[in-house]
C-alpha cells in the first residue's frame, strides 16, 4: 500500500469543503440535535429556505459585489500608479478609505429609500466596503516592483502597456491577490447583514433568529457562513501559491 494516494486527506481544503457540503445538504438531519440542545424552541431548525439555496444566493451576492470591487479597485489603483494619474492618488485613497469607514449598515440605510429593498442596495454597500483592501494592495503591489525591472523593461523597448501587462501586473499579483482575499473574506461575513434589506443570504437565519430569540437559527447560519469563509480563504491560499511559484521555484 502506498501512502501517496491518501495524502490528499491531509489537505485542509478537502476537509473544509466536505464539511461545508455536508452541512448545507444535511442540515435537516441535525434537527434532533438542535431540538435536544434547545428544548424550549418550537422550531429548532430554520426551514423557510433550504441552506443550499441560501448558500447559493449568498455566494452570488459576494461574487458579484467582489467582482465589481476588483474591477473598480484595480482599475483605480492602476490609474493612480501611472504617470498620468499620479496626482489623483490622494483623492482615490481618501475616497476608498471613506467607503471603508462608513459602515455597510449605514450605506444600506441610505440606499434603501433611494433604490428600494432587495439585492441591489446590498451589492452597492458590499462593493464599496470591499474596495479599500483591493486598492491598497494593488498600489502596494505595483510599487513593490523593483525599479531595476522597470528600467530594464523600458530600456529593452517595452511600451507602457506591455510593461504593465508583462512585468508589473504579474509581479504585483501575489500582493494584489492578498488584497482581494481580504476583501472577499470580509464580504462573506458582511453579506449576512444584507438580509436586513430583503436579500436572501446565509444571514437570513441569523437575522430571523436574533429577532425571534431563536439561538438555533443563529448558530445554523453562523456555522455555514464560517465554513464558507474558511473554504474560500483556503482556496485563495492555493491560488496565491500558484501565482507565487517563481519566488520559491521547484
Amino acid at each position: 500500500m502506498t501512502t501517496k494516494n491518501w495524502l490528499w486527506l491531509r489537505d485542509p481544503l478537502v476537509w473544509a469543503l466536505a464539511a461545508l457540503v455536508w452541512l448545507v445538504f444535511g442540515m435537516a438531519h441535525l434537527k434532533p440535535l438542535f431540538a435536544a440542545a434547545f428544548p424550549a424552541l418550537d422550531r429548532p431548525l430554520y426551514e423557510q429556505d433550504t441552506f443550499v439555496a441560501l448558500l447559493w444566493s449568498h455566494v452570488e451576492i459576494v461574487a458579484v459585489s467582489s467582482a465589481v470591487a476588483v474591477v473598480v479597485g484595480v482599475a483605480a489603483a492602476l490609474f493612480v500608479t501611472r504617470a498620468a494619474g499620479r496626482e489623483f492618488r490622494p483623492l482615490v485613497e481618501t475616497l476608498v478609505a471613506i467607503g471603508q469607514t462608513v459602515p455597510p449598515v449605514a450605506v444600506l440605510a441610505i440606499a434603501v429609500p433611494l433604490i428600494g429593498f432587495g439585492e441591489t442596495p446590498a451589492l452597492i454597500a458590499l462593493a464599496l466596503y470591499g474596495l479599500l483592501p483591493i486598492v491598497r494592495a494593488t498600489i502596494v503591489g505595483i510599487e513593490s516592483v523593483p525599479e531595476a525591472v522597470r528600467e530594464a523593461a523600458t530600456g529593452l523597448g517595452l511600451g507602457g502597456w506591455q510593461r504593465l501587462v508583462r512585468a508589473e501586473l504579474p509581479l504585483a499579483l501575489p500582493v494584489l491577490l492578498a488584497g482581494v482575499r481580504t476583501s472577499v473574506i470580509i464580504n462573506i461575513g458582511t453579506a449576512t447583514i444584507a438580509s436586513t434589506v430583503g436579500a436572501r443570504t446565509l444571514g437570513s437565519p441569523i437575522i430571523v433568529g436574533l429577532a425571534g430569540f431563536n439561538t438555533a437559527y443563529v448558530i445554523q447560519g453562523a456555522l455555514v457562513v464560517g465554513l464558507l469563509a474558511i473554504t474560500v480563504d483556503l482556496l485563495f491560499d492555493r491560488a496565491g501559491r500558484h501565482f507565487d511559484r517563481w519566488r520559491s521555484p521547484r
Binding site: 523593483p146 525599479e147 531595476a148 525591472v149 522597470r150 528600467e151 530594464a152 523593461a153 523600458t154 530600456g155 529593452l156 523597448g157 517595452l158 511600451g159 506591455q162 508583462r166 512585468a167 504579474p170 509581479l171 517563481w246 519566488r247 521555484p249
Partner: protein, 310 residues
C-alpha cells in the same frame, strides 16, 4: 553609427551634460568613464531616450533619434544595467526571449536564438533554460542580462556599469567574455564604468568625462601615454602608469621566435604586465612562450619589456 552634436541636459538647475559632442563609429567599443555625477550615465541614457536631451542633436544611423518611436529605437539597441533587472517571474529562456518576442520572431527562431546566446555567455542551455533568476548567482544573472540585451541582434549594445556589482573574479571573467563577443560580432558597444582598469581592458576608445564635458577621448594607450592634463593623469593613476601601459600589450608582440629556454611556458596571450610578474616571481630574465595550441612560439626576455615605447 551614433553621433552626439553639442548635446546638453539639465536636471532642474543642475547641468548634467554640457555641449557634449561625440561620434561613435560602427564596431567601436567606447567606454564612457568618469567620477559619480560626471554625466556618463546620463549620456548613455540619452542615446536610447531613457533620458531626453534638452539641447543639441543625437543621430542614430544619420537620423535624429526623436524621429524614431522610443520603443522601436530601444529594440535596436541592447541594454544592460548594473542591477540587471531580470524579470523574476520569467524563466531564463523567457527573459532572453523578451526582445525577440516584441520583434515578432517565430517561436522556432526564438528558441534557437535563446540557446545560441546562453551558450555564447557560457550557460549550458539545457541546464539553465528553465531556471528562474532567483536560482542563479549574481554573475550568472548578469550573463543572462547580457544575453537578453543581445537577443534581438541589436545594432548597438548600451551597458550601464554592467559588472559593477560583481565580485572581482566574476567581473574579470565576464569582461573577457564581453571582449570576445565584441571581437567575434563586431557590434558597436557603448559602456559606462567608473573602473579605469575595466576601461583599459575593454575599450577601443575611452571617453573621460567630468562635469558633463569630455576631458579627453582616445585609445587606452593615448590616455596613458599622452594625458591631456593633470586630471587625466590623476584619473588613470600616476603610480602604476608603467604597469598599466604594459597591461595594454601581450607577450605575442615582443616574443623572439626561434629561441628556446627551459621552464614552465607562458601563453602568448599573456599581458606584458602579467609577464613582468612572472619574471619577478620566478627570478628569471627569460620565459618560454607557447601559442594557442600549446606549441613553442619562442622566448620573451626581461629587457624586451622596455623595448619600443608602446
Amino acid at each position: 553609427m551614433i553621433e552626439l552634436q553639442a548635446v546638453g541636459k539639465s536636471f532642474g538647475a543642475t547641468l548634467a551634460v554640457d555641449e557634449l559632442s561625440l561620434t561613435i563609429e560602427r564596431g567601436e567599443f567606447v567606454v564612457l568613464i568618469g567620477a559619480s555625477g560626471s554625466g556618463k550615465s546620463t549620456t548613455l541614457k540619452m542615446i536610447n531616450r531613457l533620458v531626453e536631451h534638452d539641447r543639441g542633436r543625437i543621430l542614430f544611423l544619420g537620423q535624429e533619434i526623436r524621429s524614431f518611436k522610443p520603443e522601436q529605437l530601444r529594440r535596436r539597441m541592447g541594454y544592460a544595467i548594473q542591477s540587471i533587472g531580470l524579470f523574476p517571474h520569467w524563466t531564463v529562456a523567457r527573459n532572453v526571449a523578451a526582445v525577440p518576442e516584441l520583434l515578432g520572431w517565430s517561436t522556432q527562431r526564438i528558441v534557437a536564438r535563446v540557446d545560441e546566446l546562453l551558450a555564447l555567455l557560457g550557460l549550458e542551455p539545457g541546464a539553465y533554460r528553465q531556471r528562474y533568476p532567483s536560482q542563479l548567482s549574481g554573475g550568472q544573472q548578469q550573463r543572462v542580462g547580457v544575453a537578453r540585451a543581445l537577443a534581438g541582434d541589436p545594432e548597438v549594445l548600451l551597458m550601464d556599469e554592467p559588472f559593477g556589482a560583481l565580485d572581482p573574479i566574476t567581473r574579470q571573467t565576464l569582461q573577457q567574455e564581453l571582449a570576445r563577443i565584441h571581437r567575434a560580432s563586431g557590434k558597436t558597444i557603448v559602456m559606462v564604468t567608473h573602473d579605469i582598469d575595466e576601461a583599459l581592458r575593454l575599450a577601443t576608445r575611452i571617453v573621460l568625462l567630468d562635469h558633463g564635458r569630455i576631458v579627453q577621448a582616445g585609445t587606452p594607450a593615448q590616455l596613458l601615454a599622452e594625458p591631456a592634463n593633470a586630471f587625466v593623469s590623476d584619473f588613470v593613476g600616476r603610480s602604476d602608469l608603467g604597469l598599466k601601459l604594459l597591461g595594454l600589450q601581450t607577450v605575442a608582440e615582443r616574443v623572439r621566435a626561434g629561441e628556446n629556454v627551459a621552464g614552465e611556458p607562458v601563453p602568448q596571450t599573456l599581458s606584458l604586465r602579467d609577464a613582468l610578474s612572472q619574471f619577478v616571481v620566478r627570478r628569471v630574465d627569460r620565459l618560454p612562450v607557447v601559442d594557442a595550441h600549446g606549441l613553442p612560439a619562442g622566448v620573451i626576455h626581461f629587457a624586451d619589456l622596455l623595448q619600443r615605447a608602446p
